[in-house]
């Protein structure tokens, strides 16, 4: 079989020495991790390797020899290197030698115990050690779901990435150490660290503890019995602001927990939540500063009452139009007047209520606006709640109209069955024939006719108010979609993909380097980063998302029958 040697590009200019790394016999490939330089004592090298093996659980061993000679090949050196093969017995013993500045190295293997003495073909694959160590290989999305086909089919590349990633301890010794072993790897010029990161790591522990304490206080208050009384708990469940605040509280608890992240997914999730919260709060504070500058919030409060008045006036005009001859249709005058006057009185009540509240509006809005510093999402949820409160009368009208219409439709369908001599069998859930008495038939037919001729009037009122209600629902839905987007977008992962694309790897790509006859095939292995779509799909934060509960057909059916519709269902809510 072909022998594949994965050589780190940082060791290309290293001095002569022996190669250490991991031999993967199933794939017939050698992953070289570092070069140990002369002089060394073989016993010490073996001891060091066994220590590394114990700590990293990677079977690191001496794989071969590396000679980098500035002049031509020295015979004595090559014999010496072959003798090394007897000290560190490894099958096969790989010998790589580089002459001068030539790019084309000669590789050969020594097989002592093999049956066929034929020369094996070797492929030399260069890889960037630092990038492969830091990168995380993502399995393709469809195979990630099926977990029953495991280990032997596990990706061969995953083994290589794994080897390099787990050997972090090996890369900690640099050339300035005074130990007996001198290594060359990507960090042999000195371990890099940043003061800011170290300080942040030190500061994060007390900060987390403080945050946990505060959060436990807040959640204790929230869970106390005082807030569980009926009117308050009903209010909390209906307001979307409270849900959003609860959601953010949960996020804070995740971040401030003391347990270190176990694996990559958890680490990314914590980082995503942290960055998302930060951006949210920053945008919220920006919004707040914009609102409070030049007293814009005062202006907003001043225009709120006239806007509510204007909406009420428009509704009154609409009702007057319906009470006349809307769109040229002829309504039943009596029913029309009754319904119209009923709704007009309702609007009158609503206007008086708003005017009662008007002195306090500015103060309430001022204090509510302060809560925008908790985040842009909270501000948007408050906006959605304010819209819901201001259009409460439209919701009431919709419910009245829908109930009336629903009653009418059910009555009509039942009396239509009576008209034809049939009945709905509740037990069998089907329509059965039934013999009615004469007076039953008479009254039934009368009622049926009355209801049928009153249908256009009710239907028109129902249509108008349903359209208004749908408009409000669509606006609220759009706001909630925006909130959802901000909540679930994995910003940290996207920024990582933008700036350090090698950390999120979908796979690798090979580039064929210059060839020379007689020398082994040279390939450069680079990391193929994940596409943005897969990044968002893999690292999306879960939300209490609101999505349309019904399909289009069931929605239309409900509208036709007059059942009340609540198109946006929240995950935790009970069924309506």
């Amino acid at each position: 079989m072909v022998l594949k040697v994965f050589f780190p590009s940082c060791c290309s200019s290293a001095e002569s020495g022996i190669l250490i790394g991991r031999w993967i016999s199933e794939q017939n490939s050698a992953v070289i991790l570092a070069v140990v330089h002369f002089p060394f004592i073989p016993a010490q090298v073996k001891q060091y390797l066994s220590e590394v093996q114990r700590v990293t659980k990677v079977s690191v061993s001496v794989l071969g020899s590396w000679s980098n000679s500035k002049q031509e090949k020295e015979e004595s050196l090559s014999e010496f290197l072959e003798d090394l093969g007897t000290i560190f017995s490894h099958e096969p013993w790989i010998q790589i030698s580089k002459e001068g500045d030539s790019n084309f190295w000669s590789c050969s293997t020594l097989q002592k115990h093999s049956n066929n003495p034929k020369e094996e073909e070797i492929i030399l694959v260069y890889y960037d050690q630092r990038k492969v160590m830091l990168s995380h290989l993502h399995p393709p999305l469809d195979t990630a779901a099926s977990t029953d086909h495991q280990a032997d089919d596990a990706s061969k590349l995953a083994a290589i990435f794994d080897t390099v990633a787990k050997s972090k301890v090996l890369f900690m010794t640099d050339r300035y150490d005074d130990g007996p072993i001198k290594l060359t790897h990507w960090q042999s010029d000195g371990v890099e660290a940043s003061i800011i990161m170290e300080l942040m790591k030190q500061a994060s522990v007390p900060a987390c503890m403080l945050l946990t304490f505060l959060l436990s206080l807040i959640s204790g208050i929230c869970r106390s019995r005082v807030l569980k009384f009926w009117p308050l708990s009903f209010l909390w469940s209906k307001l979307s602001t409270c849900e959003q605040l609860g959601h953010r509280l949960q996020h804070l608890q995740v971040i401030s927990s003391n347990k270190k992240a176990q694996n990559q997914t958890q680490l990314m999730r914590k980082a995503n939540i942290f960055v998302s919260l930060l951006v949210d709060v920053a945008l919220g504070i920006l919004l707040m500063s914009w609102l409070y500058r030049k007293n814009r919030i005062g202006h907003l409060a001043d225009t709120l009452i006239p806007v509510a008045d204007h909406v009420a006036e428009e509704l009154q005009d609409l009702l007057q139009w319906l009470m006349g001859a809307p769109a040229g249709l002829k309504m039943n005058r009596a029913l029309d007047q009754v319904l119209g006057r009923f709704f007009l009185y309702h609007i009158h009540l609503w206007i008086s209520y708003i005017h009662l509240m008007s002195p306090f509006i500015e103060m309430i809005l001022w204090y509510v606006g302060l809560s925008a510093c908790l985040g842009l999402t909270v501000a948007l949820c408050i906006l959605s709640d304010i819209i819901a409160l201001l259009t409460f009368h439209i919701y009431c009208f919709y419910v009245y109209g829908a109930r009336l219409y629903c009653l009418k439709i059910y009555g009509l369908s039942s009396l239509w069955r009576l008209f034809r001599g049939k009945k709905w069998n509740v037990l069998r859930q089907r329509v059965d024939s039934c013999s009615y008495d004469l007076d039953q038939l008479f009254i039934g037919t009368l009622l049926f006719t009355i209801l049928l001729f009153l249908l256009p009037t009710t239907a028109l009122y129902y249509l108008v108010f349903t359209l208004l209600r749908l408009l409000v629902v669509i606006v609220q839905g759009l706001i909630h979609l925006l909130v959802d987007l901000i909540d679930s977008l994995p910003l940290y992962s996207i920024i990582l993909r933008l700036c350090r694309s090698y950390r999120l790897a979908a796979g690798v790509k090979f580039r064929v380097l210059e060839q020379q006859d007689g020398k082994p095939l040279r390939l450069l292995m680079q990391i193929n980063p994940l596409s943005y779509g897969s990044v968002v799909h893999t690292y999306r934060l879960p939300t209490y998302s609101c999505y349309p509960k019904d399909t289009w057909t069931s929605l239309c059916k409900k509208l036709f029958l007059g059942e009340l519709i609540y198109p946006w269902k929240h995950k935790g809510e009970k069924q309506d």
Binding site: M1, V2, N28, I123, S146, H149, L157, G507, K509, F510
Partner: protein
């Protein structure tokens, strides 16, 4: 030539902004953006296939704007490389594709990856590529003595 025309259009656009003719500049702006999007995401300049016997198969497409998108399929996942026939409207078209192994079922095919979707070479060209691929794939099934790259 393409980039020259793009730059000259950009310069003309800036001039237009200064002389305030909104509709024309908006139209040119939208056309420019559309052209850039087309060159970067749609127009494929070159497609290539790299088969390394012991490692795997790599498929690269390079777009007109210089972007390259690569997929690498490991040899363990590759079942076979075949030429498929398809009946499209009134003609029969041929395309080369890689059959991927189903991990659970050794005889099954889990996925079919079509190659050269944008350049759509004709049957004679496909046969050449097919023969070369089969040479290399044969070697991995018998005792493989050498690797080949095509």
């Amino acid at each position: 030539m393409c980039s020259c025309s793009l730059y000259s259009l950009c310069g003309f656009q800036c001039l237009l902004f200064m002389t305030n003719s909104m509709v024309l500049s908006a139209a040119i702006f939208i056309t420019l953006i559309g052209l850039i999007i087309y060159l970067h995401f749609v127009k494929v300049d070159q497609e290539s296939l790299l088969v390394i016997g012991s490692l795997g198969i790599q498929v690269t497409s390079s777009y007109a704007s210089g972007k390259e998108s690569t997929t690498f399929i490991e040899m363990g996942q590759v079942k076979d490389v075949v030429i498929n026939e398809a009946i499209h409207m009134q003609k029969v078209i041929y395309y080369l594709c890689i059959l991927l192994q189903d991990p659970g079922d050794p005889q099954g095919v889990s996925e079919v990856v079509p190659l050269f979707q944008s350049s759509k070479p004709r049957l004679d060209c496909l046969i050449e590529v097919y023969k070369s691929c089969q040479e290399i794939l044969e070697q991995r099934k018998t005792a493989p003595q050498s690797s080949g790259i095509k």
